[in-house]
């Protein structure tokens, strides 16, 4: 059945309210089950042996001593995960990252794994696996790795995107370029030009729940896996591909997920757990330690970015240019390309050019982190924009409003924009009381804008009407932050029944068609579209059933407020048939009532935010305290405003941590110095103020309710907003993130 996804304005009854979430009681009573909270009979414990070297050739692995230890049931190495990737380079990178083959590429790279009867035996066995390494020179810094004399990670990687193709290998895997117009001509028209270089350090998503799974492979080739993931269907596909399994014989159930932020869109230990289970013939539970999470999973790119922006005295930007170098870890990827696309997306520019370079380093494989690549680019660009506004003597908000992209503007990454929210968020910031609040000594205010694409993707859901007229909604996108409440609201809205009569749950991979992951801010956007479609299909069924019950043509049956109504005059004054009445008769009118839907939710629509931030800097120590913080963002339509606010606040908090304290610190030996929450400093409760939010609702034309994704954009502006606030507080322009106290103090002394 074709589905009309176009936005139609309407008065909402359920959408926009703030009911209690369906999984709330489970989560406050400790009953909700996360990745590590599941067990199978006869299960073994899996542990992974990791390289202590940043770069080393694996000469030999001898597991005989480990296998001789009582209680050890299996040891796996790369030999047990043969290369079935058939030339698919990105899948091969996943495989090699899960279990190093010829070389260990970073401190923490998996080289072997063991399954044993308990954790004590498993850990003891790891110490008995003998690995002979040939240690190689390493490089962890993005600029050092891009230099011509850097130690090479691969001798078969040649910089792509360059004409003519280079003949010597390089750690620079690829070059990409975006833009339009003529930037040099644009700079020639500029009265003032700001040109600076910026650096950002590598950060981690920092989800509180470490990766965990229980894998159980049977001798007949069927298998089950329980796992914390942002996308169990994607994990199923990847694991089946890597292990040579039939996709539908691997049933994956997503547990409750203790945070992901992009870090649980990638497989790490899951294929290893399956390989261990296959070899041992028993279920295997594999839970990462926090140390492993930091050393071997998820970080974002470290970056080095050059920005040049020119403007006329009247405040018109005439040209903008950025060169972005992003670390990818050991395998080619497209993180700089994403950064290059997002850099200037907030602005309508005549002349713009961005160039991205993907740089390979001896660090963990870069993973998506909430609006991946955008925060670093925004830090560089929004810092330069702020400086430029000051130089031409214009208020930074007015300067941005003057140059903001609008409907019809050509975006810096190519396409022409439809209706977008950057202008309205800026206008809202101009009049927000935060903007005019007084500031004390050593205090400063900063603001910045941010952009993220958002996307949709393949989505499938089932809506089942029970005999009492209540509704079970089975969705395939993992609920990372309250989506079950939002999707129940949407189904209730479309059906015209109370929210309390709908219960949404996340179905496993055997129970529903394929769903893309919960990433790209797509969870609520896509699954709400699927839920609306499924509800419409269920309504069609219920109209047919009402027609049977009334014995009138189905064309004469309408649907209003959760009940079937007889249309026109010819059927007398029949009282409506409620969903409960229709459901009660279902067995006699054709069987169970359900609505199904499978669709590709495209047209997610881009997202913009503007943040305002006040800080106080201690000029004697360089300590920065965030005093006040405001997030203004377009949500299209906020389905459950409390959880939309939660996304805004959570993204801002992660951005604040990134801006001030979070960073991977590597020693000269290429080993990670701070793989724990003590020295990888995510914000604690006392670090933050209340985070004010203002939700704007500019309907997305490509969604029936106007919904846009809201999950990611809020992490984009904070780095720059805080840097601009620090600059306004103490007069130093910070170009290196995080702005840790030693860096701020050094900058203050340096100007001094």
């Amino acid at each position: 059945m074709s589905f009309d996804a176009k936005f139609h304005d309407r008065d909402f009854k359920s959408v926009g309210t703030r009911p209690l979430r369906p999984d709330g009681v489970d989560k406050v009573t400790g009953r909700a089950r996360y990745g590590a909270d599941y067990n199978l009979p006869g299960q073994l414990v899996g542990c992974i042996l990791r390289s202590p070297h940043a770069h080393a050739r694996i000469v030999r692995i001898d597991a005989s001593r480990a296998l001789a230890l009582k209680g050890v049931k299996a040891v796996v190495t790369a030999e047990d995960l043969p290369d079935l990737t058939d030339g698919d380079a990105s899948l091969y990178a996943v495989l090699d990252n899960c279990m190093a083959r010829e070389k260990a590429f970073y401190d923490g790279h998996a080289v072997a794994a063991v399954a044993a009867i308990d954790a004590r035996v498993a850990r003891a066995a790891l110490k008995l696996i003998d690995v002979e390494y040939e240690v190689l020179p390493h490089v962890v810094d993005v600029d050092a790795a891009a230099a011509p004399d850097a130690p090479l990670l691969h001798d078969d990687v040649f910089t792509g995107g360059i004409d003519p193709a280079p003949e010597t290998p390089s750690n620079v895997a690829n070059r990409s370029e975006f833009g339009h117009g003529d930037v040099e001509a644009g700079f020639a028209q500029a009265d003032v030009i700001v040109e600076r270089s910026y650096k950002t350090e590598q950060t981690h998503q920092g989800y509180i729940e470490p990766h965990a799974c229980v894998a159980s492979v049977n001798p007949d080739g069927t298998a089950e896996m329980w796992v914390c993931t942002q996308g169990h269907f994607v994990f199923r596909q990847t694991c089946a591909d890597l292990l040579g399994m039939d996709v539908s014989k691997l049933r994956v159930t997503s547990s409750e997920i203790g945070g992901g932020f992009g870090g649980k869109t990638h497989v790490w230990a899951e294929p290893v757990a399956l390989a261990l289970s296959r070899k041992a013939g028993r279920p295997v539970k594999l839970v990462m330690s926090r140390d492993e999470v930091f050393r071997a999973s998820g970080p974002t790119s470290a970056t080095s970015i050059d920005v040049r922006i020119g403007a006329r005295k009247d405040g018109t930007i005439t040209a903008a240019e950025a060169t972005l170098r992003y670390s990818c870890g050991p395998y080619p990827d497209m993180w700089a390309e994403l950064g290059a696309m997002t850099s200037f997306a907030c602005y309508g520019l005549e002349n713009v050019k961005t160039v991205g370079f993907e740089v390979l380093v001896n660090r963990p494989k870069t993973a998506a982190y909430r609006a991946p690549s955008a925060p670093m680019a925004a830090f560089a660009v929004e810092s330069a924009v702020d400086e430029l506004a000051h130089k031409i003597g214009m208020d930074p908000v007015e300067f941005r409003i003057k140059n903001a992209a609008q409907e019809g503007s050509r975006s810096s990454y190519g396409p022409v924009y439809g209706p977008i929210g950057i202008g309205p968020t800026l206008e809202a910031s101009r009049t927000h009381p935060h903007m005019s609040a007084p500031l004390g000594p050593n205090q400063g205010r900063g603001m910045a804008c941010g952009f993220w694409f958002n996307f949709g993707g393949q989505t499938c859901c089932d809506l089942n009407v029970a005999a009492d007229g209540t509704v079970a909604l089975a969705v395939g996108t993992v609920d990372v932050g309250g989506a079950r409440a939002s999707l129940s609201l949407v189904a209730a809205e479309e059906l015209g029944i109370p929210y309390e009569d709908v219960k949404a749950a996340v179905a496993d991979t055997a129970s529903l068609g394929y769903n893309d992951m919960t990433d790209g801010s797509r969870g609520t956007f896509s699954s709400s579209m699927a839920a609306i479609s499924a509800a419409r299909n269920a309504i069609a069924v219920m109209r047919e059933r009402a027609a049977i019950m009334w014995d009138i043509p189905v064309e004469d049956v309408g649907w209003e407020d959760g009940q079937a109504i007889a249309l026109g005059d010819k059927h007398g004054n029949r009282p409506p048939l409620t969903i409960k009445e229709i459901a009660a008769e279902a067995g006699k009118t054709g069987g169970p009532i359900a609505g199904h839907s499978e669709l590709v939710a495209d047209g997610a629509g881009v997202s913009f935010a503007t943040h305002i931030c006040d800080v106080e800097v201690d000029p004697e120590t360089g300590a920065t305290r965030v005093l006040r913080y405001t997030v203004i963002q377009d949500a299209g339509k906020a389905v459950h405003p409390a959880y939309v606010e939660g996304q805004f606040q959570g993204g801002a908090a992660q951005g604040i941590g990134w801006a001030l304290n979070e960073e991977y610190v590597y020693g000269d030996d290429g080993r990670l110095q701070n793989p724990g929450f003590l020295d990888y400093r995510i914000p604690v409760c006392s670090d933050l103020p209340m985070i004010d939010t203002q939700i704007l609702e500019i309907p997305n034309p490509n969604h029936p309710y106007g919904i846009r994704g809201v999950g990611e954009t809020s992490i984009v502006p904070p780095l720059a907003a805080i840097a601009n606030a620090v600059s306004n507080a103490v007069g130093v322009r910070m170009t290196h993130i995080p702005m840790s106290p030693p860096r701020i103090l050094a900058a203050l002394e340096g100007q001094g």
Partner: protein, 81 residues
Amino acid sequence: MVEVTLWGSLAALADNQKQVEVEARTIRELFRNLGARYPGLKPMMENDVAVSVNGVIYRDQWSKELPQDAEIFLMRRLAGG
């Protein structure tokens, strides 16, 4: 006939052509005909690209019809967090 901009790093896979004209009424036809002309793009188009049609980004909807005057970009498929 539609005009397609090959964006970012994709032009390098198509003899460094940034703008190409392709006979195509849908995204599927676009991919088929582009792949025939530039085999280097073929593996990319399996999973790793998205198409922007008049500013709306399509990742999977290959049956999407392409208006003949549409502004079309072929770009790398985006990752999200």
